[in-house]
């Protein structure tokens, strides 16, 4: 290697250069806080801790209402040392990369289906993990950058530092170089979200990964064990399996706990049909490294459970823990202001996003008992800012929020599960319409349609208000979205059945429902257009 000495005009006497360089370093630090006084204190109307979906939406709306706003964002590296940029979980390690990888996985399937439609496709399609990962990460970086530019354009002060409270009106930001900046503020919004939990099994933290790491994994995951049957675990196992990596899901209890269990079982059936292995009612006990660098996992029946797959062990290349997420409130020093949080989950108790301390608020995944969804955080953040700085008094409506689980065959729904409907109204007051259906495009490639199923729950008494709509099938998110607007308008069963469908689609099945569970009739489709 040749050595290139930097000889520029300004590279004059060494000592003089050194002091100028140290001056430059100070310039670089202080210039990013050019509006701070030398004591580092400044008055804001609002400091938002957390630059994710909720925090940014709140900050932008607050600025639009004339407030002076600063946003703090900081990513504590995962146990695997994974870090990411501005934008929060959704952009970096959540919705966006998840949907992209889910889509990439389905494309592999589409290539195979294409043959039956007459496409001549030579050879077998294989995923190049690194190429796919790079494409996804590229997109994420562009969003990080656009987000950053957008904050600047909106004149929001962005501080890349870890925030904590000194008191109810003072937020301390600790920067990467350990320097602390004090921000005096009239109001605080906590929007720090949550991070994955790890199981307590021996070796879990040392050898396992989480959703924080999977989307930027440096090497193909190989044979993978996903611990956890929530939507994160199922979605990850789903796309990994679709890429061709042998996947296993270990469930402690039931899949998609808290969701409609009949629909959850359809989702799991579909995944099993596609080759995902399920280990039921078990928890991992230990992880250890094998001689050839793989991971030996030993598991046993969940304490207190009966049945299930029972004790066992196997060797995997990757173990992904998706056993729940914990709110990142421990390091916020919320007690310095007296903010009350849930002892176990760390989540914050709020009423209309206000904590027990009048000038401290919270939005997003950090809230106790609210849906952990980006659009929920965004809407709540926006409405909160309008109430704080504008004249709009509208409160956030957390009911009838549509959502979709992006498993290989997707599950979308809005409203109540059948279990919740029964709990609130009693089964005798409900009517449940249901049907299996056959997507037109599935016939030619002979795809499995046995889990293509929809269900609508409504009140039995007039005006038969629809309580919940559930759909398992392709493009579930697109199918359900429009219906959530209908639910907001309190659509009745009559109005739904009076709606004329678009043909041929899968969404139109909602307008063709005739069979109720109560009738006991066969919900399987007879013919196409009858």
């Amino acid at each position: 290697m040749s050595v290139l000495k930097i000889c520029t005009k300004s590279f004059a006497a060494s000592l003089g250069r050194q002091s100028e360089r140290s001056l430059k370093k100070i310039y670089r630090i202080s210039s990013s806080f050019r509006t701070f006084s030398t004591e580092g204190k400044l008055e804001y109307d609002l400091v938002v801790i957390g630059g994710g979906s909720g925090g940014l939406a709140c900050a932008k709306e607050a600025v639009a209402q004339g407030a002076r706003v600063a946003v703090l964002d900081y990513v504590q590296p995962s146990p695997r040392s994974t870090k990411w940029g501005l934008g929060g979980t959704c952009v970096n390690v959540g919705c966006i990369p998840k949907k992209l990888m889910h889509h990439a996985s389905l494309l592999g399937e589409a290539i195979e289906d294409a043959r039956s439609f007459g496409w001549r496709i030579p050879g077998n399609a294989e995923i190049d993990w690194l190429a796919m990962r790079d494409a996804v990460q590229d997109h994420i970086k562009s969003v990080n950058w656009v987000t950053r530019v957008s904050l600047r354009d909106n004149k929001i002060e962005y501080v890349n530092g870890r925030g904590h409270l000194a008191d109810a009106n003072t937020v301390v930001a600790t920067l990467h170089n350990k320097k602390e900046v004090l921000l005096k503020t009239k109001n605080v919004v906590v929007a720090v979200g949550a991070r994955p939990k790890y199981s307590t099994a021996i070796g879990a933290q040392e050898l396992g990964i989480s959703s924080d790491d999977i989307f930027s994994l440096e090497k193909p995951p190989g044979k993978t064990l996903v611990v956890g049957g929530g939507y994160i675990g199922l979605e990850c196992a789903g796309f990994l399996n679709g890429f061709g990596y042998p996947s296993t899901v270990m469930l402690r209890s039931v899949p998609l706990r808290g969701f409609d269990q009949q629909m959850a079982s359809m989702v799991v059936n579909e995944m099993e049909g596609r080759g995902v292995n399920f280990i039921c009612k078990c928890v991992p006990e230990s992880l250890s490294k094998t001689l050839d660098g793989r991971i030996l996992v030993k598991w046993n029946t969940t304490p207190g459970a009966s049945g299930g797959s029972g004790q066992g062990e196997d060797v995997f290349d990757t173990v992904l823990f998706a056993v729940g997420r914990k709110a990142v409130t421990d390091s916020l020093a919320l007690d310095k202001a007296g903010v009350e949080t849930h002892r176990e989950t760390g989540k914050i108790f709020t009423t209309n996003e206000q904590t027990n301390v009048p000038n401290i608020f919270a939005v997003g995944d950090v809230l106790h008992r609210k849906p952990e969804l980006t659009p929920v955080a965004v809407q709540a953040g926006r409405l909160l800012a309008r109430r704080m700085f504008g004249n709009d008094k509208t409160l956030m409506d957390y009911d009838n929020v549509a959502t979709t689980v992006f498993t290989p065959l997707e599950y979308g729904f809005v409203g109540l599960s059948e279990e919740e409907s029964e709990k609130r109204h009693g089964p005798e007051n409900l009517e449940v319409y249901h049907a299996f259906y056959k997507p037109t495009e599935f016939s030619i490639p002979q795809k499995d349609m046995s889990n293509c199923y929809i269900k609508v729950i409504c009140l039995r008494k007039e005006p038969r208000t629809v309580l919940g709509m559930h759909f398992v099938g392709p493009n579930a998110g697109e199918v359900i979205q429009g219906f959530s607007a209908a639910m907001k308008c309190r659509i009745t069963m009559e109005q739904l059945l009076d709606t004329i469908g678009i043909h041929p689609t899968v969404a139109e099945e909602f307008t063709r429902l005739t069979i109720t569970k109560r009738s006991g009739m066969d919900p399987n489709p007879q013919a196409c257009c009858s």
Partner: protein, 151 residues
């Protein structure tokens, strides 16, 4: 401070990148008052600026490139990470307007406008058009590309 090469084609760009990858930069620093240490740095960021050629008066055919020029020079002197390397690719108007130009089509670039500055080999984040003449945007860009872990 940084080292800068100027090229006119993709081949020349690739050669310049190769060259930068094979050198070390000797950087002097004085962590404490009387010590003067020099160390070799092998791994430094390489920034690529794609711009428009200048005529005999030194004026570019591309107005945004013209505006960006002095700002980028200032940024290189005072804001760029130390050390770092810069390569400016100059394209003629005909070259750039051609929809098949390699900097538009090549997967490593996929440029839609010039001037564009990016950090090799990442397509994102990047500075485009007026952002290249905005010293604050450039500062954010360096911050985003090369986050300082310790200082």
């Amino acid at each position: 401070m940084a080292v800068h090469q100027y090229v006119n084609s993709l081949q020349e760009l690739e050669a310049a990148i190769e060259q930068f990858k094979n050198i070390s930069m000797q950087v002097s620093s004085t962590p404490s008052r009387n010590e003067n240490t020099e160390h070799l740095i092998n791994d430094f960021p390489i920034f690529i600026i794609v711009s428009g050629t200048k005529d005999e008066n030194g004026v570019s055919w591309c107005p945004d490139c013209e505006k960006a020029d002095p700002v980028l020079e200032e940024a290189e002197q005072s804001l760029a990470p130390e050390p770092s390397a810069f390569i400016t690719v100059y394209l003629t108007r005909e070259e750039w307007k051609n929809p098949k130009n390699v900097f538009r089509t090549d997967g490593r670039f996929r440029l839609t406008s010039i001037p564009t500055m990016l950090k090799w080999p990442n397509r994102e984040p990047k500075l485009v058009e007026a952002q290249c003449a905005d010293i604050d945007a450039i500062k954010e860009f360096f911050d985003e590309c090369c986050p300082q872990d310790q200082d």
